[in-house]
């Protein structure tokens, strides 16, 4: 028991040290985020930071507050306590909880992107695949139809959707295709940080593998940082550099991905890891 606590301590210290070092050129930082739903806790006192190009995994069972946290730090949900900082392209540090809504929206559609678990929430279902990919381009000023269409076609290819489907609506696509389309729609303007909430949640296993593979390659290739929420440890093992483990709205463990997965310190993390191994 004593040894266990000691280990936990040293781990925390290690973690803190690393944080101090990273602060110089961090991309994104959230400190002491709390969000309540009436009497219920959504998430409590969560801090995290992300370096450029880094992938952070957030794991925990259903209801542990992962989605709440993600929506808070993306700026979709108003936080009750805490601050959220982005080191923007011009190296100015912006606090999401202080900036105006126009400014926040501008950031959300340039520096950031958000992939929803359910592609229906992230796509315009009544607009063609090409239009879905083109929207962000047009939003930042692209005005050449031919070019927009070409870029959309290239991205369809990248996410392995047949280019002949460019004028079809997402409602005619399979779940996996819809999710790949949502990814393309988000990445087309090359954001610096992408948030993903269970991006493979609703899909069957073979489709999941394909999408994870695709995500890994794209994120690496484009050097995009990502926050990926999942209840599936296999997903973080594949994608994440670092992870945080959540339970009942609290972060109970944080660290390098392999470190936490191979040598979990907290009882709950141990349980999570062992339950995966059992499967």
């Amino acid at each position: 028991m004593f040894r266990h606590r000691l280990l936990q301590r040293t781990n925390q210290i290690k973690f803190k040290k690393r944080r101090l070092i990273m602060k110089q050129n961090f991309l994104f930082q959230a400190s002491n985020i709390s969000k309540y739903y009436g009497q219920n806790i959504g998430c409590k006192n969560v801090s995290l930071d992300i370096n450029p190009g880094e992938v952070l995994g957030i794991v925990g069972e259903s209801g542990s507050g992962k989605s709440t946290l993600l929506n808070c730090i993306y700026g979709n949900l108003e936080v009750d306590e805490g601050d959220i900082f982005l080191n923007d392209k011009s190296k100015t540090i912006l606090n999401f909880t202080k900036i105006s809504e126009p400014k926040l929206r501008l950031i959300q559609r340039s520096d950031l992107a958000f992939v929803h678990q359910n592609p229906r929430d992230g796509l315009r279902m009544n607009i063609s695949a090409g239009g879905n990919i083109g929207e962000r381009l047009m939003a930042i000023g692209h005005r050449n139809y031919g070019e927009i269409r070409q870029i959309a076609a290239n991205w369809l290819e990248k996410v392995e959707i047949d280019v002949s489907r460019i004028d079809d609506k997402p409602s005619t696509f399979s779940g996996g295709m819809q999710q790949r389309l949502q990814i393309a729609r988000n990445l087309v303007t090359r954001p610096r940080l992408i948030f993903m909430d269970e991006p493979t949640g609703g899909l069957d296993v073979s489709v999941q593998a394909k999408i994870l593979d695709l995500l890994r390659n794209l994120v690496r290739e484009l050097g995009i940082a990502a926050v990926i929420v999942t209840h599936d440890l296999a997903v973080v093992r594949l994608l994440a550099d670092r992870i945080i483990v959540m339970q009942n709205g609290n972060v109970i463990e944080a660290g390098l991905c392999d470190q936490v997965l191979d040598d979990p310190q907290h009882k709950y993390s141990q349980l999570l890891v062992s339950s995966v191994l059992q499967v």
Partner: protein, 292 residues
Amino acid sequence: MNEMSKNENLDIQIYNFAYLDENTKRMIRRALLKALCIPGYQVPFSSREMPMPYGWGTGGIQVTSACLIPKDILKVIDQGADDTTNAVSIRKFFQKTANVAVTEKTSDASLIQTRHRIPETKLKEKQILVYQVPIPEPLRFLEPRETETRKMHALSEYGLMYVKLYEDIAKHGHIETAYAYPVKTNGNYVTDPSPIPKFDNPKMNNSPAIQLFGAGREQRIYAIPPYTNVKSLDFEDYPFEAMKANFKCSICGSSDSYLDEIIVSDDGKRSYICSDTDYCKEQTKLNSKKED
């Protein structure tokens, strides 16, 4: 004095000049000044209940009422014509309540209230064109929520607007909007030109006249000051194209004015005539002079 004119005098006595009271006019003029300062921006104003139904030009009527002075010469058109029922009704209203001079001649008018058209005769400095606007929000059919669309304007989040144009081209090879074709005013706000045919859009650009837009039910006023850049939205490789029926007016022979199609026989034979009745008349006069 006959019954009719007695009543008309009575009305003038009961109501203020041009119907609205001076406080209301002041409120509208403030909105108009603000609108002129921020071209294309929709200024909320406290629209009043008018004695005509919402949707029948109450916004335009309130703007006209706030602008009208006794020496004005008023022209009212609907669908380009002075003799359509709604134009007649609105003109009568101002004759009754403001006793101003009226005209059908575009060039004689100091204030023109219109629904769905811009006159063919080029407008001049010191003329005011008042548009009746049903839905002032060009983004309304893409996003029904006012709270959202106001934000979209504030952030110039016009991606969705272009998505619509993109979809049209992808589907039909053309931008599908034929009227109320959205424009960008002064390089800034996307603006609804009211339901004029897109043939009229180029007339809005760099016009010497003041263009005022009133939407009564939606409680919005916006404006385009004289000599303002007004650009119809398009793509570089699919440029905006003004469009009309490719015929000549069967009355005046004009081929450059916007034409109405009329069905002239039981077997569906079509004929085309100018939608702008004043322009057609002027052209006819010119033709007969030439012949003389």
